[in-house]
């Protein structure tokens, strides 16, 4: 097992921990970004073949890395970026209304 997969696990768990333990909204958004990057890292890792070149076939190569996860990674980046942007926008709005970034203070909805 490659050591880099452990990096994925560490990043993933770090992201989860950031999300569940931080009360600051911005930090929570950061947690999501970390989570997303761990998944992108995973995508790139699983596409990797030892000694492979990038899948741009201007001439014949022996070993080429798997192009599908790379395409998926691109999609994931865009989706993750969009979600992060929306989250930040809502955060800004929330900060304007509630004047706090503490997520536990957002308690208008309960019961």
């Amino acid at each position: 097992m490659q050591i880099s997969y452990i990096a994925v696990i560490i990043l993933f768990c770090l992201g989860i921990y950031t999300i569940i333990s931080n009360k600051n909204i911005i930090k929570m958004v950061m947690g999501f970004t970390i989570l997303e990057s761990s998944l992108i890292l995973l995508l790139i890792l699983i596409s990797y073949t030892p000694g492979g070149t990038a899948p741009i076939l201007d001439r014949q190569y022996e070993i080429v890395v798997d192009p599908i996860p790379q395409a998926l990674a691109l999609t994931t980046i865009v989706i993750g970026g969009s979600v992060t942007a929306v989250m930040l926008a809502v955060t800004i709005k929330l900060y304007k209304r509630y004047r706090t970034l503490n997520v536990d203070k957002l308690r208008k909805l309960r019961g």
Binding site: I19, I20, S21, V103, L106, R107, R110, G111
Partner: protein
């Protein structure tokens, strides 16, 4: 072939169109009379089959017992609709039609599925009748609806058990889930312990609603019991206990409607005993008693309705308006009283004799006599206030003709059944080998009545007395409180903290992983 229940549903739909006042009268009259005529001409043995989902249902099946029950329901429908038509609005009339229609459907249903649907339709329509009639009945309607739906769900669960065990919806041969059928029927019958809805609903609801409810609700329970649970002998003692409880409670009531409510519980006790004996005679007696009970109890409710209509309240003192000013009402009261007391040549006598004849157990015979005796005492109180106690109440307004028509119609029927008991037997080909007017039966029939008069006079001051309510305990309310507090605590856990929620989510994830991987 159009069924009587379906006819009532059609009537309810036709009443949707905003009609003139006259058209409303005509339509109701046509529907109710047509229902009687159709029911009269039903041939026992006729049935309709219907494919629904994967089941083959028998939504309509005629035999002797349900023909008689259906007939008395249809007659009661005619009387009750005529009685109440001048008072109730169009939407209430529609609900009444749905209610009567579903009761008739329940009676003629040939399988458990149809029975359940009709049963719940009765619950829905009657509850909305209670809820919508006035503003003081909202809580009552809530209580009533919940009780009846609990009963209905119990029936449903019984049906499910029965269906998964036997694979059909047949009304006969109930094998599994008998306790659940019992609970369902007990709630409908207002059996002691499950009776809490009955006095509440009938006394709070407007009197014309009470009249209609009293005709059908408990009686459908009796009919269904005769179908599903006949011949369970131990239930006879339960019926006895229920009836004795009814006597004790009704003696303490301050309001006439409540007295009538508890007296329903007593009369239902007679029917339970008859059904539990399980012999043909017992069941026939119970059904005949159902018919008679509908006749006289409806008249009594109608009479109290007249009292409420004219004086505005149903206290015992207000009964004093009866007498020469309200001739039809007074005669009807008297006939109904004689009927309920089981005096020979009045209608209650006939069915009580059949039940008595069918009983073998001496304890039950004694109990039956005590019940008749108690009934007499209770209604002597009624009669005492109505005719013997001096009263200064004035009649402000006369009851409308339609109300009197309804009362008169049923009174005539009562007299007919009382004088000629074979009338009912001939009508339905259910022959009981009994000579009603021989000495033995006459004696045993009149005894409780005769005993009750001196006892009433002796103990008058105890009986005619305003008792304070000393016991009020409702287990269902306590259960509701438990439900409420649990919900309250649960909703307090949802305090809007996202961190807490996220913790729940992560814990769930770990639990899931643990569950699946090990």
């Amino acid at each position: 072939m159009i069924t009587p229940g379906f006819l009532y549903f059609i009537g309810a739909i036709l009443l949707l169109f905003p009609v003139y006042e006259k058209l409303k009268y005509m339509l109701s009259f046509l529907v109710t009379v047509a229902a009687i005529i159709i029911t009269l001409h039903l041939i026992p043995g006729y049935s309709v089959q219907l494919d629904f989902l994967t089941f083959t249902l028998v939504p309509f099946k005629v035999d002797n017992i349900n023909k008689l029950t259906g007939l008395i329901f249809a007659v009661g429908g005619l009387a009750a609709v005529i009685y109440s038509i001048s008072m109730c609005s169009l939407s209430h009339l529609r609900l009444i039609f749905v209610f009567i229609g579903s009761a008739l459907t329940a009676v003629f249903s040939g399988d458990l599925f149809t029975l359940y649907v009709a049963w719940e339709l009765m619950t829905i329509s009657s509850s909305f009748l209670i809820i919508m009639t006035s503003d003081v009945t909202k809580k009552t309607g809530y209580y009533y609806f919940l009780m009846h739906v609990a009963g209905g769900l119990s029936l449903l669960w019984g049906i499910f058990l029965q269906y998964s065990a036997t694979g059909n919806f047949s009304l006969n041969n109930i094998e599994v889930g008998i306790p659940f059928f019992m609970i369902a029927i007990a709630i409908k019958l207002a059996f002691v312990g499950f009776h809490t809805w009955l006095p509440l609903a009938y006394s709070k609801a407007p009197f014309y609603v009470a009249v209609i409810l009293s005709i059908y609700t408990t009686k459908v329970g009796v009919y269904v019991m005769s179908r599903l649970l006949s011949g369970i002998n131990s239930l006879a003692y339960a019926g006895l206990i229920s009836a004795l409880f009814g006597i004790a409670m009704s003696l303490k009531q301050k309001r006439v409607l409540k007295l009538l409510c508890y007296s329903i519980i007593i009369q239902v006790g007679f029917m339970i005993i008859g059904i539990s004996i399980g012999t043909t005679e017992g069941i026939t007696g119970a059904i005949f008693h159902l018919v008679n009970h509908i006749l006289y109890k409806t008249v009594l409710f109608m009479v109290v309705g007249v009292v409420i209509y004219t004086t505005g309240k149903d206290s015992f003192e207000n009964l004093g308006i009866m007498g020469r000013k309200l001739p039809i009402t007074s005669i009807a009261t008297f006939v109904a009283f004689m009927g309920i007391a089981g005096v020979p040549f009045f209608n209650g006598y006939m069915s009580k004799s059949i039940i008595k004849e069918a009983i073998q157990d001496p304890i039950l015979t004694l109990g039956l006599n005590v019940m008749s005796f108690g009934t007499c005492i209770i209604f002597l109180k009624f009669i005492y206030y109505a005719f013997f106690k001096n009263s200064d109440r004035k009649v402000d307004k006369k009851p409308p003709v339609s109300m009197q028509l309804g009362i008169g119609f049923l009174t005539v029927l009562m007299l007919l059944v009382g004088i000629h008991p074979f009338f009912l037997e001939n009508l339905t080909n259910m022959h009981v080998d009994l000579h009603y007017f021989d000495k033995k039966h006459l004696l045993s029939g009149i005894q409780p009545f005769l005993w009750s008069i001196p006892i009433f006079i002796l103990f008058k001051k105890y009986i005619v007395k305003n008792y304070e309510r000393f016991l009020y305990f409702d287990i269902y309310l306590n259960m509701a409180k438990l439900f409420m507090t649990t919900g309250y605590h649960l909703s307090n856990y949802h305090d809007g903290k996202l961190n807490k929620y996220l913790l729940w989510a992560t814990s769930t994830l770990i639990i899931l992983l643990l569950l699946f991987m090990f």
